[in-house]
Every structure is written in C-alpha cells, then in structure tokens.
C-alpha cells in the first residue's frame, strides 16, 4: 500500500462519510422539524452545550426547557460559568446582581396544621416524608396533605424552608429561588413552583369531595363550588374537585377568599410566613 494510495483512500473515505452524514443530518433535521418555543433554542444557543449532565438535568436542551418553564435558575449551569449567566440574564432581560430573575418561589399547598387537620394515629417509626408516604404511615386522616417531617427542609440548598409549630413548611420568599428541589423531594407534591406575583391560590391538594374532606381537615377544600359561582369574572374553574384560578381574568377582588366556607383560598402576596398554616 504505497503512501499515495493511503492518502487517497483515507481522504476519500472521510470525504464520503462526511458528505453522507452531512446530507443525512440536514435531511433529517428538515424532515423531522419540530415546532418548539424559540426561546429554548435561544437559551440552548447560550448554554455551553457540553451535555455533561453536571447540573443534574439530562443535557443542555432539557436545562434550556427547565429555564424557559422556570423550573431552573439561570445559574444552574456551572460549566458555562459567569459568562453564560450574564448572557442568559441579557437574553431573559433580568438583572444579574444576585442573579435574581423573574422571581419564582415554591408554595406549600396545605394548611392542615396540627391544630386544624384531624389525626387518627400516632407514628413511632422513622420520621421522614418519603418513608412515611411509601409505608402509608399517616398520622392525619387526609392523605393528600403535608406529612410534616421536613424532607423539603433538608433538601433546600438555601435554607429557605422552616417547619412552623403547626408542623407545616414555611418558605421564606426572600431566600427561595424556585430551584424546585423541594418540589421533587416532597413525595406528595404538596409544594409547587409559582411566579411570585399577586395571585389567589387554593391552599389544598385534597381532591376528594365534601364530607370526606370535612372530617379530615377544617381548612380543606370541600368542593362546594361557592367560589366558582360567586367570582364576578368567573375566573375560577373546579378541576378534579380543586379550584383553579385563571391569572388573566382574576382581578384580586378577594370575594372568593371571604366567601370560601373553609378559608382554603388565599392571596399569594399576603402568603408570607405568618399567614401560612394559621386559620
């Protein structure tokens, strides 16, 4: 195999492979184009794209999706470092002083504290939410609400969550960055991420009806439809026995909050530490 032959064959093979793959990729990209939120591609543009999974997301694309849907803060990606965070901040139009951005915070959707939710057992075993949930060790009758063993407190990297004496997590809005670790951690998904804007929320996850809720918790939503009927803007719809408030329509008039027999609905702004958990 003389040298010339080697050179010709190698370059020939590489050229052939290159062209075949190039055209293949181009064709596939065109034929299988998928319409997606353009913001994801813009963010992906800025992320290093190393897909190394160091941020816990499974690659830059899912991190980009996480950032667009607000699940991940813009400095989750460490590979890109400062530069990526600055560009992301420029793109999303947020200030970069303490990398605060369109603020999201986590809100625990349960008011059934010790004094409000009825108990029918006392648990002696390991006191962690995951274990209690898996082994069905329920002290409270309500099996949707917060177990109160503080898994979320443990996992929060910013120490934003404290358990109040009612046995419910209180999240300090100034510390919480909405990173979502507590959401993943809570076995009953009691905690959810919301933009930190004026908003009315149903602080209950119990999707059962009337009496079942009534004898489980004094502040649970008994699906009485009063809020849906009374809302002047009819911004409230009952979805599997829990009211969902449409942000655009709702003008925070507060009628639903007062009219709700079990005081389940609350105004989110007011929902700083003290409001949560007390009747």
């Amino acid at each position: 195999m003389s040298l010339i032959q080697i050179i010709i064959f190698s370059s020939g093979i590489m050229l052939a492979l290159g062209i075949v793959f190039g055209i293949g990729l181009g064709y596939f990209a065109k034929v299988f184009k998928v319409q997606e939120n353009p913001l994801i591609d813009e963010i992906l543009e800025i992320l290093p794209g190393a897909n190394c999974g160091a941020c816990g997301f499974s690659g830059c694309r899912s991190l980009a999706e996480g950032i667009t849907s607000g699940k991940a803060s813009i400095d989750t990606c460490r590979v890109g470092g400062e530069e990526t965070v600055k560009n992301l901040a420029k793109l999303l139009g947020v200030s970069t002083d303490n990398i605060s951005y369109e603020k999201y915070i986590a809100i625990p959707l349960c008011k059934g504290g010790k004094s409000l939710a009825m108990k029918n057992a006392t648990v002696k075993g390991v006191k962690t939410c995951k274990i209690a949930n898996n082994l069905k060790l329920n002290e409270k009758i309500c099996t949707y609400g917060c177990l109160g063993y503080g898994d979320c407190v443990l996992v929060c990297p910013f120490n934003a969550i404290k358990m109040n004496d009612e046995g419910l997590p209180e999240i300090d809005p100034s510390l919480c960055t909405g990173c979502g670790l507590c959401v993943k951690e809570c076995p009953r998904e009691v905690i959810e991420i919301f933009p930190y804007k004026e908003k009315v929320l149903a602080i209950c996850k119990n999707s059962e009806k009337g009496s079942a809720v009534r004898n489980a918790c004094r502040v649970g939503c008994i699906t009485c439809y009063v809020c849906e009927k009374k809302c002047p803007k009819n911004a409230i719809k009952m979805v599997n026995n829990l009211p969902v408030i449409d942000i655009e329509k709702c003008d925070l008039c507060g009628i639903c909050i007062n009219v709700c027999p079990t005081k389940t609905l609350s105004l989110i702004k007011a929902l700083s530490a003290k409001e949560n958990g007390k009747k």
Binding site: L25, A50, G81
Partner: protein
C-alpha cells in the same frame, strides 16, 4: 491583556475542569497510577485541547448549527488520532501504559465542553488562553493524584524508590478504589479552602 490572564486563571481555579465542573474524570482516575503516566496524559490532552480550540475558533464562522457537533468531533478526533499516532511511533511504552485512554481523549467531556462553551463563540487568542488554562488546571489535578497514588501505592516517585527497598507499598492506592479516594480527598481539600457561596448550592444538593 488583563482579560486574557483572567481567562487563563479561570481555567485553573475558579472553573477547574476536573474538580469544580466535575467533567473529564475518566482519564484522570484511570491514568494517574504514576506521575509519568499523568504527565504523559496531560501532554496528550493539552495538545488535543489547544489544537481543537484554536482550529474551531478559526473556522467558527463556517460551522452551521445543525451539524456543529459532528464537525467538532471530526476536528477533535483528527487531533487525537494524530497525537496517538505520534505516541505509538515515538513513545511506545507511554502509549502502552495509557492504553485505551489515548483514543478516548476524543470523547473527553472537557474538550467538547470547552470547544462548545468557549471557542465556538470567542476569538482565537482567547481560546488559546482558555485552552492553556484548562490544560494546566487538568494537569495539576491529574499529576497531584498521580503523585499521591504512586507515592503511597508504589513507594516511588518518577520511578525512584523513596521509602527504601523494604517498604511494602499500600497497593490499595494503585488499584481502582484508591483513585476514587484520592480524588475524593482532593475535592474535600478544595471544598475546605475554596468554599465559595456557589459551593453551598452544590453541597446543599446532597446535604
């Protein structure tokens, strides 16, 4: 000029590829059985990293979005193969001790990470400094682990007996588990002295 020095320093401490960003671990643990291997690997790695970052930042104008990964891989792959050919020809025993990790440099997450994050978007000089910074950062880690493992596991440094002939070496450090422990200690030390606020988030994750 200030900015270039920053980029260079950045690669060593603030964004040290192996200890902070936690990528490119495969070669670090596998090859650091001795300082000589570690140095050999660092040289091979730096040649490929510097070569790829420079080439990519030169041709970054012509690289279309859809096929940028294959193009990066071809560039990095060719530098790796050139390096491995030279290694086989002129340094056969180093090539034998590095073994399969010579061709594996092409998938080393650091190179592809830095090429995408940095040189695909920045100028040539900046890419050069970033590559140098990253290589030095990578080299410091792998050589230090190699030093610990060779000293404890083999009783020698660069092949010279240190503890006298009848030192019976703690073989543990040459074997795979020793590597994990060594890098664990190294990160712990870094945590201890360089614990920046950003670290809190990372530690918190597994508190």
């Amino acid at each position: 000029m200030r900015n270039l020095i920053n980029i260079f320093k950045n690669g060593i401490i603030k964004e040290n590829p192996v200890l902070i960003i936690m990528i490119g671990l495969c070669s670090v643990l596998a090859v650091s059985t001795s300082v000589v291997n570690a140095l050999g690997m660092t040289l091979a790695f730096s040649f490929v990293l510097i070569g790829s970052e420079l080439t990519i930042s030169i041709i970054r104008k012509f690289v279309p979005k859809t096929i940028r990964i294959p193009i990066f891989i071809v560039v990095i792959g060719s530098f790796t193969t050139i390096m491995s050919l030279f290694l086989q020809a002129y340094l056969p025993d180093l090539n034998k001790s590095l073994g399969i990790f010579v061709p594996l440099v092409v998938v080393n997450c650091i190179i592809i990470g830095r090429v995408e994050a940095f040189s695909y978007r920045r100028g040539v000089i900046e890419s050069l400094f970033d590559a140098l910074g990253m290589s030095v950062g990578y080299g410091i880690v792998i050589v230090s682990i190699g030093f610990i493992r060779e000293l404890l596991g083999n009783g020698t440094i660069l092949g010279y007996q240190v503890f006298g002939p009848n030192y019976n070496p703690a073989l543990f450090f040459i074997l795979p588990p020793g590597a994990f422990i060594a890098i664990g200690i190294e990160i712990a030390i870094l945590n201890r002295f360089l614990s920046k606020p950003k670290k809190v988030k990372e530690d918190g994750q597994d508190k």
